[in-house]
Symmetry: C2
Subunit: 361 residues, 2 copies
């Protein structure tokens, strides 16, 4: 038995050195004579650990001082519902650009709380492209413009930050967090679940321009009020301490790899390797996304028929390539190649793909 | 360095055999060739693990079939806000019985969403007792009656389930989950965070009578609609998989200990040992809670002055007795003695207390 290459879409692969450290100190964390899972979030050791994670994230993403960094329970879907309550009053509007499943989900979870409008959608094309910016119908009075820079199921990614015309841009970066440098100052809010690029599931991060909070005028449960978390260093209630700790280790690992720029270079190479294996297969493998919108993080592709897709998944698993089944909404194969996937893993996949095509082509 | 006795109020001590198993399989979980943190929640291995945890909890608590068991992101505070939205319409009333800090918190987080009424409160007495049932001003048309069977900060516990007069009883059992047998059929909802008796923080459990969901008539974000979780085996979105897995191991450990009845006997003995050390100290140690309402889980006590309390905490820590500082709201000392605290730990504490009193009395 040994560890395989895990292409799961999330929860997803974590850096092995991180897992080894978690394992080594699982029963006795630092000098605490207890597991990190067992210590109080109000004790000095955990507060230091939590603060270090925030400091590292701020450094890695060059987050300006006028942004809060919040570490919250839950995932991106819960957070989207909370953001709708926190960023707009009930009579205010918000615009949505839809390029896949998760953009639709955010819209569904935000629309009960404000006046939602679809400003652009790629649904008619089966979510294989990004709608031309010139055609977006933006409302300049909207409280914000929401989009999903990377769509995990459809494999569609924005490679530039769109111009939101002065409206705060709110982006669900669950699946491309820290995957390359990103100019935080162009956003009102960056948010996402940790379980793809940053850590285990059950922890969500929100990077929020400070002036956007506390203006909604609603009477919210205090636990829904993000300003309460901002004022309490994300310890307004008991945070998911273990996930926060693992995320901190992942951030240290990203720093050791060279930071966001190095991750971006590596992720670009990984994606290029995989897409070129698909495109060079003489049509045996097919990715249907507009080339300029192809995701660096999630690469869906198809084989000539379902029988061979089934065989591909079975043989891949036997070859130590896991989690490659496509999402049921689109079928086929999907390789998620987040930060923790080494280049050797992508190389192993493309080698397997070439061999499989030779045998089954 | 070795593990100490951890009296932290939550996150709190976990059974050491559970931590050892987590450590052993951290990099390769079962036959998965990946960590449990890395595998998909939609894969067979995790679905089986999740289902086993539900089955064990149903068995341990004898949960009737007409109750859902939900495993949710977050903690009890978030869940209280969600329950208010799910159990009542905005014009409906709910009654609250307050016996400490957490009952107040639930009221704060529920009242923006319904018509909240305090039916009884022990606040005037500093939360050292349970208001006499005869004096509760219950509204028979209330959607539910909320109370907190165990208050961790004030150390006040109901040792019987109160008669709610036909209104569904909603109880935050974060701190006394599975600490003894409890007749689930007497409740509309039992809910709580996992981080005291059941597992790591970031996971909340709701045991909900099926007929209570889906009747509120509100337009909620789908992620706030508990019926969506109920219909999707708590996988409507990505759950906190690692915490769920650890909780499953804790439940197996509770079964191996003899179940809820055995835990109740052991917890009763632990509490009796500690209270008798306090009461037998000739006034050196004082617990101010009405004896019939003293908590089995959280035992706050005071020394003659703050200087000696400070010395007590310092010497206790050196003696391997951790997390004994009282909550800032009440000060003093607090020993949390949840399920995972062995009787040897309480014995070590009372031995230390006797020695300390001898030297500082």
């Amino acid at each position: 038995m040994s560890r395989a290459f895990n292409f799961s879409a999330g929860p997803a692969a974590l850096p092995e050195p991180v897992l080894r450290q978690v394992q080594a100190e699982l029963l006795e964390w630092q000098g605490e004579r207890a597991s990190v899972m067992e210590v109080s979030h109000r004790g000095k050791a955990f507060i230091d650990c939590a603060a270090a994670a925030e400091r590292d994230l701020r450094e890695l993403m060059a987050i300006p001082d006028d942004y809060y960094v919040l570490f919250l329970q839950g995932g991106a879907t819960t957070l989207s519902a909370l953001l709708a309550l926190n960023l707009a009053g009930p009579a205010q509007g918000a615009d949505f650009v839809l390029t896949g499943h998760w953009g639709e989900k955010a819209l569904e979870n935000m629309k009960p709380s404000l006046k939602a409008r679809v400003a652009a959608s790629a649904k008619d094309g089966g979510y294989t492209s990004i709608p031309d910016r010139a055609g977006w119908q933006l409302d300049p009075s909207a409280a914000f413009l929401h989009y999903t820079p990377n769509e995990t199921i459809h494999g569609v990614e924005f490679h530039d930050i769109p111009d939101a015309g002065g409206v705060p841009l709110v982006a669900d970066v669950s699946s491309n967090f820290l995957s390359r440098p990103m100019d935080v100052s162009r956003f009102g809010v960056l948010y996402g679940g940790a379980q793809k690029n940053l850590g285990p599931s059950g922890l969500a991060i929100a990077i929020v321009r400070k002036d956007l909070l506390g203006r909604h005028g609603r009477e919210l449960p205090p636990i829904f009020e993000l300003l309460n978390q901002a004022k309490n260093d994300s310890m307004f209630n008991t945070p998911p301490t273990f996930a926060w700790y693992v995320l901190g280790l992942v951030l240290q690992w990203v720093k050791a790899q060279g930071g966001a720029a190095a991750m971006g270079e590596r992720n670009g190479r990984k994606a290029a390797l995989l897409y070129s294996a698909i495109d060079g297969s003489g049509g045996f493998y097919r990715n249907t996304v507009q080339p300029s919108a192809r995701s660096w993080m999630n690469v869906p592709f198809f084989l000539p028929d379902e029988a061979r897709e089934k065989a591909f998944l079975k043989e891949a698993e036997a070859a130590g390539l896991l989690g490659l089944k496509g999402h049921r909404a689109v079928g086929g194969i999907r390789a998620s190649i987040y930060n923790a996937m080494p280049e050797a893993g992508v190389q192993a996949l493309v080698d397997f793909m070439a061999d499989f095509a030779r045998r089954h082509g």
